[in-house]
């Protein structure tokens, strides 16, 4: 595949904007780390070592890049078409739970088992995303709020299902609440020995490339994109927007569900309630930074994975709380969301206003 690396002035400005944002985030991060009484230099060094310093560090980076890519793509599908599906996390829980159960209950040859687990995971996520989709289509219920609410519901409901599956008196210990281990036939192989990186990364990259091709070459992809650009325009242009909306929701949910599946088949091996710890939100952030470009999602996800992997190491080595990193990630999203053109205009307006006031006081 050929990547267009030639940048227009516009593109250069974008790169500059990201660099400035990254720099700002580093500065703010340093201040936070300093205020905790730690050395920013050491902390960042530990971050780097934790992300790339050893085979196991790289493994961990890849391990965390994997779900970031998949949830990122799930978010891209929705956001590119102007749909705020922030229920990725909830859809993930359903996908994960079902694939964990299928992975334990059914006995199948290895290849088949993996495919089946992945498919049922996707389907479960899809079915769960059908709820906000149908509510939006029939009742105009704002999908942002409904998916937010359903996230909370999904977390609780899968916890309930786990109990139900295991028997309610199985265990009182919070840590022990989980489905049984999946069959080895349903597990993905380890990518780098003695690390948590699995072949799930190939699934993730594959999904991203497929989605990229979908947008680039297919009529359906064109329609999905145009619905996001201007819904009214697409409607009269003959795009059946209802089926397109449904496609978007279901596809986004399917991919989110698959992410749950790969998490189970890859690293976790069994379903534990609440395992996802904001993975869905990572996808939302990544899609927003990548400006809904599937290929950019891959790159940013690797940075995300590196930060996550590095932050664990940083916390161990320098006692710097790793939450610093999650705060900085959100901050980065905030900074690249700035419309610098508008900012510049506002600045000029202010300047003009001051001049006008001066002028006026001169007249009076």
């Amino acid at each position: 595949m050929k990547l267009n690396l030639r940048l227009s002035t516009n593109g250069k400005l974008t790169v500059l904007k990201y660099l400035v944002a990254a720099l700002l985030v580093m500065i703010i991060g340093s201040i936070i780390i300093l205020s905790q009484g730690n050395s920013p230099a050491e902390a960042f060094k530990a971050l780097g070592v934790g992300a790339f310093g050893s085979v196991s560090a790289i493994g961990t980076t890849i391990r965390w890049a994997t779900p970031s890519i998949i949830t990122g793509i799930s978010a891209v599908i929705a956001f590119k078409s102007g749909i705020w599906n922030v229920g990725i996390e909830g859809q993930m829980y359903f996908g994960a739970f079902v694939s964990a159960v299928v992975g334990y209950q059914l006995l199948m040859p290895r290849g088949v088992h993996i495919v089946v687990c992945l498919l049922v995971a996707g389907l479960s996520g899809m079915i769960f995303s059908f709820i906000p989709a149908i509510l939006k289509l029939l009742l105009d219920v704002n999908e942002l709020i409904s998916t937010l609410m359903l996230n909370y519901a999904a977390l609780l409901f899968t916890e309930y299902l786990t109990f139900k599956y295991m028997g309610f008196d199985a265990s009182e210990l919070a840590d022990a609440i989980a489905t049984p281990d999946m069959q080895p036939t349903a597990r993905l192989s380890v990518l780098l020995p003695r690390t948590s990186a699995t072949t799930a990364i190939f699934i993730a990259i594959g999904i991203a490339i497929l989605v990229h091709l979908l947008y680039k070459y297919t009529v359906k992809g064109y329609e999905l994109k145009m619905v996001g650009e201007n819904l009214k325009f697409s409607k009269f242009g003959g795009v059946n927007y209802k089926s397109t909306f449904l496609t978007i929701f279901l596809l986004s949910g399917f991919i989110a569900g698959m992410c749950g599946g790969t998490e189970m088949m890859g690293t976790f091996g069994k379903f534990r309630p609440g395992f996802a710890t904001n993975l869905g939100w990572d996808g939302v952030m990544i899609a927003s930074i990548a400006k809904n470009n599937p290929i950019a999602v891959i790159f940013i996800s690797f940075i995300w994975g590196a930060l996550k992997s590095g932050s664990f190491h940083m916390e161990r080595v320098t006692e710097t709380n790793r939450l610093v990193i999650s705060v900085l990630q959100a901050l980065f999203v905030l900074l690249v969301a700035i419309d610098y053109e508008a900012l510049y205009k506002w600045f000029c307006d202010q300047k003009q206003l001051r001049m006008l006031r001066k002028q006026e006081s001169g007249v009076q």
Partner: protein, 508 residues
């Protein structure tokens, strides 16, 4: 009586490299009607927006009652007694008329609480004095346009304006509504108010004005009185060349019924019946114009014709098939094209390329070689055809459409539909807000395509456009078709106006 209330000296306004106004000088006499005329884009509105404090002049001075003034915002202008009624009404549909009038100019108790009683009394006094009658407790969204315009004028008076600027006030009115407005304007000037009227309609200018200022390309080309002027003189000052806008139409044969609508009834979103029992037909190769005051149900009619809105009852037949419940996609496949009124909101996707904008609809109607994949060659070819046929000024078909000028965007929007080998085109206000050259171009294209055998349903709020292009005119009034008129030389605007107001109707 002959004293000067407003004077403008050396006024300039630049938007980047665009010159909107250059060295404008004019004086307005107290208690007169002063018309500012010029073509679309001549800089009339820009000038008035500067006088009303909305834009800041790049250069130049304004004097009110002989005193130099600088406006930071419309409130400053209001304090000097200048009020403007915009072409696009500045109203709040969900609020009552009283609240609309109070907004920004509230009478209060203790500085915070609204004093509705006092405001009502004051407004009633103004209404009585200048003979306006407006229902204060109705929501603005429930009133007809002519009443809304009165609300706007009362609002300006309530704010204490002595100089009232009316920006294209007649555009939304019927001929009869215009008469009413002119009566009100005369009444206002008799009571000492000064009215500045912006318009591009010569007849109106000659009828109502005491003084006329003509603008062309942002410059003043004439300051005169109606006695000195004639329509020909004004026209030549406005455009600087012979106005030759009569399109050449050839006699042509009109074929059989292509579209037949029978007893169609359509409701708007809030359940109001907007189209009542409408029946008409469009024949092959025919241009059928739909005239009517804005909001008479044209929008709902078109939406239901194109499958964007489900009709309550009735039937739409096209090529003999019942297409009443077909989706827009189905209409595309059936070779029906649609040029929407709102070109930026509905007609294109601003951030996408010309190519992506061109193949919308095409991708359904024509299908690419492999219907699942966008064939790059074919898409490029079609887009280039649109760009060339409609002489769109653009670097390439990959240029973002939002960077083009209004006229060029409109050419793409029209061209896309015209180049798709459609059999029926529903065209809505195809020339709104674009320059003269582009208007002429698009009018020619409409006539050409009809000569080639394509049927056109032309819905326009410019009566002149409908009368110029149509073979037959349908007049809508209050959701009904009150007139089905053959467009012959004998048909004049006044007659159509009577139909538009419901004062006259055909018996079916």
């Amino acid at each position: 009586m002959e004293d000067v209330i407003l004077e403008v000296k050396g006024m300039c306004k630049y938007f980047g490299s665009l010159v909107a106004n250059e060295d404008i000088n004019m004086t307005v006499k107290r208690a007169s009607v002063h018309s500012i005329i010029g073509e679309n884009g001549a800089g009339k509105s820009t000038l008035m927006n500067m006088i009303a404090g909305i834009y800041k002049p790049s250069k130049g001075e304004v004097f009110v009652n002989g005193k130099k003034v600088v406006f930071r915002n419309p409130n400053d202008a209001a304090k000097c007694g200048i009020g403007m009624v915009h072409q696009e009404f500045m109203l709040y549909p969900e609020l009552t008329v009283l609240e609309n009038l109070m907004m920004g100019f509230e009478t209060t108790r203790m500085g915070y609480f609204l004093d509705r009683k006092k405001a009502r009394k004051d407004i009633q006094e103004i209404c009585d004095k200048y003979k306006f009658s407006i229902p204060l407790d109705e929501k603005a969204q429930d009133l007809p346009v002519s009443l809304l315009q009165q609300v706007e004028i009362v609002k300006v008076l309530y704010k204490g304006a002595d100089i009232i600027i009316l920006d294209e006030p007649t555009a939304v009115l019927t001929p009869q509504g215009i008469e009413g407005l002119f009566d009100a304007i005369r009444y206002l000037t008799e009571h000492g108010k000064t009215v500045i009227l912006i318009t591009h309609k010569l007849k109106e200018v000659m009828e109502i004005s005491d003084y006329i200022t003509v603008l062309k390309n942002g410059r003043v080309t004439g300051n005169l009185t109606p006695a000195e002027a004639s329509e020909q003189l004004l026209a030549s000052l406005m455009v600087g060349r012979e106005v030759l806008f009569n399109t050449q139409k050839q006699e042509k044969e009109i074929g059989e019924d292509l579209l037949a609508v029978k007893d169609l009834t359509v409701k708007s979103d809030d359940g109001v019946v907007k189209v009542k029992n409408v029946s008409f037909s469009v024949k092959k190769g025919e241009i059928v114009g739909v005239a009517g005051v804005a909001g008479s149900g044209q929008g709902e009619l078109i939406e239901s014709l194109f499958g964007l809105r489900r009709p309550e009852s009735g039937e739409i037949r096209y090529k003999g098939e019942n297409i009443t419940h077909l989706s827009p996609r189905g209409h595309r496949v059936d070779r029906i094209g649609y040029v929407p009124q709102d070109r930026l909101g509905t007609g294109c996707a601003r951030d996408s390329s010309i190519l992506e904008n061109c193949i919308m609809g095409y991708h359904v109607a024509h299908k690419f070689k492999n219907p699942l994949l966008v064939n790059k060659k074919e898409a490029e070819g079609f887009s280039k055809q649109v760009v060339e046929d409609f002489s769109v000024k653009a670097e390439s078909v990959y240029t973002q459409i939002g960077t083009l000028s209004g006229g060029n965007i409109q050419k793409v929007v029209v061209g896309r539909e015209f180049c798709q080998e459609n059999d029926l085109l529903v065209v809505e206000d195809p020339t709104r807000g674009i320059d003269v050259g582009a208007i002429e171009f698009i009018w020619q294209k409409i006539i050409q395509i009809a000569e080639a055998g394509v049927s056109v349903l032309l819905v326009s709020h410019e009566l002149g456009e409908v009368m110029e292009l149509s073979d037959r005119i349908l007049v809508m009034y209050n959701g009904e078709i009150t007139g089905n008129l053959r467009n012959t030389d004998e048909l004049d605007e006044q007659t159509v106006g009577m139909y538009m107001l419901g004062g006259k109707r055909d018996e079916a």
